[in-house]
């Protein structure tokens, strides 16, 4: 792949990389015919972001001959690429053009900055060929939708300190509110609680299908909000009940950005449920991974929700509980085999936040794998292949 960006586009590209750096430690460059996608996932697989730049964003955009049936997705370390775009102000001042080339034979991405005064800076970054990861999120199926200028969302989150990890967004027909969320009783007495609420009228678009409280990681979202504010783009929020992922997206003529975050399940309401009782039967559209996860029956009281004992917490997931991989595998099987749902509920998997990743639809013609499973295990691979074949076209 070979593409050239100029002027302001370089700055926007850099800003996108800044936003992605809030999510994960690795950046995946995925050149496609519909544009160049930049993706990142956090290590707990509870947050995913994708910036898709259409060919019109570039001065020149060529996919190489190797981009035929086989695509080359390059996985780069965020700490290799972020420093190149670290200082956006100086990029704006000095860089006239930026060229990005992916050379498969020597596994290098060449990024060249053509700057003022005839200076050219060339960076060669090693990449790893990887399978593209993509969260498939059926936003059109989400019961709750909010759309607002980025500035409004910025004004909502500014009441919370930058260090605030997780927040809870609540929606009722009369108001939308945000409050901070603290897990566990540590320092419970010392923490400052903040809540802000506003009227649905303030949103450009407000649709409520189900009253819900969703808790997600604010830190991971801030990158997108900052990008949207700098481009004055409206942000759309699609979500459902607690436990199902929430999707924040912005788009304009030449780019689209999406952040999908998992949300916490109310672990309190789990206690007395019978196996299979509260499990939502996965409908014929298994594209919603979170469907496997039981819906919480009632309003969650987040302040009392504690991480269940024995739950594994991954530091980088900012406290969102995850499950261990065998259970994840189990869940993947369940997506296509409803009669296994009983088992799901009794495993620790029942407290999983949400599983984001599914196979890409066959429509794109690329045989992409589900990220989240232990792709080393052959058993899983076989299952994956089976599931992919059965996935309907979106």
């Amino acid at each position: 792949m070979n593409c050239v960006l100029e002027g302001n586009a370089v700055k926007a590209f850099g800003k996108a990389i800044h936003s992605l750096s809030r999510i994960g430690d690795e950046l995946c460059l995925d050149p496609m015919s519909k544009g160049l996608a930049l993706r990142s996932v956090n290590s707990a697989h509870s947050a995913y972001a994708c910036f898709l730049f259409s060919p019109m964003f570039f001065q020149k955009y060529n996919l190489g001959p190797e981009q035929g049936s086989e695509t080359v997705q390059c996985k780069l370390l965020m700490k290799s690429i972020l420093p190149l775009f670290r200082c956006l102000a100086s990029i704006e001042r000095n860089v006239e053009r930026c060229q990005i080339q992916i050379n498969t034979p020597n596994d290098r991405v060449k990024i060249q900055f053509f700057c003022r005064h005839g200076i050219t800076k060339t960076h060669n970054l090693c990449f790893q060929v990887s399978e593209a990861l993509q969260a498939v999120f059926a936003s059109h199926l989400c019961p709750n939708v909010l759309k607002a200028p980025a500035r409004l969302l910025g004004e909502m989150v500014m009441h919370f300190p930058v260090s605030q990890e997780e927040i809870t967004l609540s929606i009722t027909p009369l108001r939308v509110s945000l409050r901070n969320y603290f897990e566990g009783a540590n320092d419970h007495m010392k923490t400052m609680y903040t809540e802000m609420s506003l009227h649905p009228d303030e949103f450009d678009y407000f649709q409520i299908g189900v009253e819900s409280d969703i808790t997600f990681c604010l830190k991971e979202l801030r990158g997108l909000l900052s990008f949207a504010e700098s481009h004055c783009l409206p942000v759309s929020v699609h979500f459902g009940a607690a436990g199902k992922p929430v999707c924040f997206s912005v788009e304009d003529m030449i780019l689209e950005a999406t952040v999908v975050l998992s949300t916490l399940i109310d672990s309190e309401s789990r206690g007395s449920s019978q196996p299979g009782e509260t499990l939502t039967v996965a409908p014929r559209t298994p594209t919603r991974c979170a469907d496997v996860v039981p819906e919480s029956p009632g309003e969650a009281d987040w302040r009392k929700a504690a991480v269940p004992a024995g739950m594994e917490l991954v530091a980088s997931s900012q406290g969102s509980p995850i499950t261990n991989s065998p259970a994840l595998l189990l869940l993947l099987h369940h997506l296509s085999e409803p009669h296994y749902q009983e088992r799901a509920n009794s495993t620790p998997a029942s407290s999983i936040c949400s599983l984001l990743f599914r196979a890409m639809t066959p429509e794109s013609g690329e045989g992409l794998r589900v990220l989240a499973c232990c792709s080393d295990e052959e058993e899983a691979e076989e299952e994956d292949v089976m599931m992919m074949r059965r996935s309907p076209t979106l």
Partner: protein
């Protein structure tokens, strides 16, 4: 115990926020004393904070449009709370454009000072923001620790040079030494000196002026007429404490002065229109 206050004026809110932000830069935790007329932010000198103590007094009617309180009892009509000023500062900073800000003592998961604000919006319904800042109620038997400090028997009292200049000088000196000597005399001269094995630096200020304390009967044996105006009174203090004091100052005070008790304590006093701040830095050996 009850407390409710309301601030409507934007300038008052802004000023109040700046005072609290200054306090938050001086100390992590302090005591807030509420009386019908005043609010006091108090830090009592303990070993834990290096012996530094602070007393900040605000007259409530200069800030609040409504102020109602009921203390612990009719005889002790006061409320004493231990609070983290940074939380208050953070909460207030986010609501600077509010139509009205209410501060109340509430009981949520623990006793809290709740800051509730209504923010203006284009739509008919305002946005509501609530911050619950946890506080600890201080029992009456400990109140004696948080009394107003008495003016020390100082040897010299002098007006301070512009705080910004002082801060610049002290910032540089801090790189060279941990201790600083503050000395001044009744001739309006003040020196800031550091002395290490490698280097000595001193900065001299002249024509600062001395406050006319002599008129006030505030102490016996105060700046006596017989004291030689050129004799310096000096105190050696931890430079970081002095720097911390200067870093927090956001507004130029109407009056800034310093009392020095020779080899004992440096007493800094800042007076604004409606706020007074006193800061005591003890001498180090």
């Amino acid at each position: 115990m009850k407390f409710r206050g309301k601030i409507i004026d934007v300038a008052c809110l802004n000023h109040f926020t700046r005072v609290i932000t200054t306090i938050s830069k001086l100390t992590k935790m302090c005591v807030l004393r509420l009386t019908p007329q005043n609010l006091f932010f108090v830090l009592s000198g303990k070993v834990a904070n290096g012996g530094v103590s602070m007393w900040c007094e605000l007259s409530q009617e200069n800030f609040f449009d409504e102020f109602q309180m009921e203390g612990v009892s009719p005889e002790d009509n006061e409320i004493c709370l231990e609070v983290t000023p940074e939380n208050l500062s953070r909460a207030l900073k986010t609501v600077q454009n509010a139509k009205a800000v209410k501060v109340k003592l509430t009981k949520k998961h623990c006793p809290c000072l709740t800051i509730a604000a209504e923010l203006p919006t284009l739509s008919s319904v305002s946005r509501v923001v609530t911050h619950d800042v946890p506080v600890e109620v201080i029992p009456r038997r400990l109140w004696h620790e948080f009394k107003e400090p008495s003016m020390p028997d100082f040897d010299v009292s002098i007006y301070l040079p512009p705080l910004k200049t002082m801060k610049n000088v002290i910032d540089r000196m801090k790189n060279l030494s941990n201790f600083l000597v503050v000395e001044a005399n009744l001739n309006g001269e003040m020196n800031l000196k550091i002395d290490t094995d490698l280097v000595s630096v001193s900065t001299h200020f002249k024509d600062l002026g001395n406050p006319p304390w002599g008129d006030e009967a505030s102490q016996q044996g105060g700046p006596s007429q017989s004291r030689d105006p050129d004799t310096m009174a000096q105190t050696r203090v931890d430079i970081r404490k002095l720097q911390q004091f200067l870093v927090g100052q956001q507004v130029n005070p109407s009056k800034a002065m310093c009392n020095i008790v020779h080899e004992r304590v440096v007493h800094l006093i800042l007076l604004h229109e409606d706020v007074s701040l006193q800061y005591f830095i003890p001498a180090v050996a």
